[in-house]
Amino acid sequence: MSPPGALGTITRARKSDGAGKLVSLLSPLVAVLAAFLVGGLVVAAIGESPLRFYSVLFRGAFGSVDGIGLVLFNATPLIFAGLAVAFAFRSGLFNIGGEGQLYIGSFVCAWAALKMPGAPAVLLIPVLILASAAGGALWAAIPGYLKARFGVHEVINTIMMNFIAVALTGYLVVEIFKEPGQMTPQTAVIPVAGELPRLAGFFQSIAVPLPNANPLNASFLIALVAVWLAWFILYRTTLGYEIRAVGHNTSAAEYAGINVRRTLVMAMLLSGAFAGLVATNEIMGFRHRFLDNFSSGIGFMGIAVALLGRNSPLGVLFAALLFGVLNTGALEVDIFTDVPRELILVVQAVTIILVVVGNEIVRRRLAGGAQKRRPSKEGLEAS
């Protein structure tokens, strides 16, 4: 007997093909709008003006060059974290260990920088980028190997690896690598040669008045390269082909002679590398040191970013930008309205939920509408 799910796969695929690319482009947009509408109701329910809430939010995000710079800065780590989840997802693995991987990547980055005090920037910057990626990759490879070798579910192991990473880096930074003479659990500042340049100077040189204080730095450009790289690996390399084959149909991959275990480990390794690259923004671009507990959930937000971006590299970019807008605008709302800080977080989270749910509903609606609009006979040959 063929599996009963087989037919389901076909129907599902057929549906999603309905109006094709247009649907997948339109649905997140419509969903975001719907989310703002319902989010407004939440704001109204707590007795504030939705109009003012959103105007302040968007003014914060888009009202100035500084705001836009902040949006990009806030989006940068989410791009890396989102890519990490999306990439693993393509191999069928749910890597929710981005948080732990980015802690290890960041710690390794800071540690390596402090170990190379005299190195010139041309050497130190590439080394630190590789160190960040390697730290994350190593941390992800462990659950990847356990999954491939023993079939242990990656979710439980990545969660545990998160705890270990946060606690381990916390221990290291408090007990061994703490900046001498300071109470704060953080390392010393990394050498200037290891810092990524801020982009303010560049933008000012092309007459865009990005203030010097704006934290947007070259890590954003690395993130853009990472988006391209994730796409390139998945769709242009033999490894990417094998990763996607394993993710979509493991037994077909096995049948085709693909080494499923090796492929899974490689996918986790690369996924972890993307998570580790968060360090390029957090350590090399912004803090210039490792601070205990600095992330507050970037790795977990990466899951939402990846899902909203439908696990495609380009989708991750746009989803991360949306989160960047919300995060940036929320700061402004906090400063300029009486909406309590906690409620801003609530509205923010509600908006995200609505975007995700709405995206799904709109996609189905649009696909359903496409059914009615295209009663053509052209598919007959295909079936």
Partner: protein
Amino acid sequence: MPEKIAVEMRGVTKRYPRVLACDGVDLSVRQGEIHAIIGENGAGKSTLMKILYGMVRPDEGSIKLNGKPLIGHSASDSIKLGLGMVHQHFMLIDPFTVAENVVLGIEPTKAGLFIDGRAARERVERLSTEYGLALDPDERIENLSVGLEQRAEIVKVLYRGADILILDEPTGVLTPQEVTELFVVLRALRESGRTIIFITHKLNEVIELADRVTVMRDGSVTGVVSAAETTPEELATMMVGRDVLLRVERQEATLGEPVLTVSKLSALGRKGTHVLENVDLEIRSGEILGIAGVQGNGQTELVDAITGLHATSSGSVTLSGTDITNLKPRAIRDLGVAHVPEDRLERGIVPDFSVAENLLLGHHHRAGYSHRGLINVAKMEEHARTLIAEHDIRPADPSISAAHLSGGNQQKLIVAREFDGAPTLLIASQPTRGVDIGAIEFVHTSILKKRDAGVAVLLVSAELSEIMTLSDRIAVMYGGRIVAEFEGGTVSEEELGRYMTGAGDSGDEPVRNRPLDDNSPGQAAAGGEA
């Protein structure tokens, strides 16, 4: 005589985004008849039945059940109105007993709280004896053969009071003997006045069992004929829209050197039991060895063991003198073994991959397609275009995802890919399962072409007619062993059927080449056991 019409569908139309599944279909089923609906995959038979059963809403058209119009009914309404459906994939709960499955959802209860197990068992027994459906109500579904599971489904439908039964491809999973038994049951049900709608694509069954036949093609009805007044050829022409070769031409085999030698091969299953036991096989270049057997008797494991997908416990597999026992699948493929897998959706394709990507599967690492870790996309697409043209895969678009192809075209895709690259051994497992007549003709011709070109072919099929048409030699598997082996053309379908069900299994050496005019093997084996 005045005939009462049980089911009357008029002008039923159903559109899907890319397909017009039913286009103004009329169906009229008389009360108390066995009415067959035949057509290729995608002809609209299943959609039509789902509309009748209330699982799918039609865009246009009307339905009358026993003269009463049905509007916007659901599947649960249908059950109340006496419509029952036996699905192709059984809807049974494996760890439950037959009786528990039958009464599921409308259990007889004690004080409205507890299931009255005895009442359930009695009702099941009454129903099954009434129609000759021998079935133990206390047996768990997981212990039943497929044929018995199907009986449980039929009893389940009867228990719900169905007097119109829809059977969706009921014989696809059965042995010849089970098919005969099913037909006895169906005739008994017809005697009792019930109406039976029988969906199939096997033409001989239609002629044998049905009273009348509705033929569908591309969503429309192309003919309604009386089964007594038609022939398989005529039905095939109505189904496909052109004359079809129901049996392919084959020439004498030109045998070469042995290509595949399987010797004393054993393998263990998940539960640690032997799924293969001392299997010996030899296939020469230019020869087709057909393996007949009821599914689940070790054929899958045999193929997987040869292709490196299932570990063996003892014995050896040799390919043209090279020991390939337990090599990695890729190494075995690279030695020239092509494999059309039995389940095309599970193994044969990656549905979310494009046609071009699917055509590369298993070849993707080879020089030309892969260079320094990069896929040569231009080469991949060129390769796809060539194979699509050569094998007439439709739609001819390398970038469309394989999930959007019909079953027949998916199978053509797999055949195109596996036959490409000059294999020395071709393993074809259920190569025509669920594909329509046109594609069957194509697959059969392709297999014979490869054989004539000197490829050794291992053909595994549950379709006896396929085994008989194509094979130069036929081996029968039962319980993980080869229980009989015949020269092609020296054995009847019935005889094979007996070995397939273990009747001829003496537990000793396989029976080889019993000529047709000898005593029946059933008796011979019984003698062997005594």
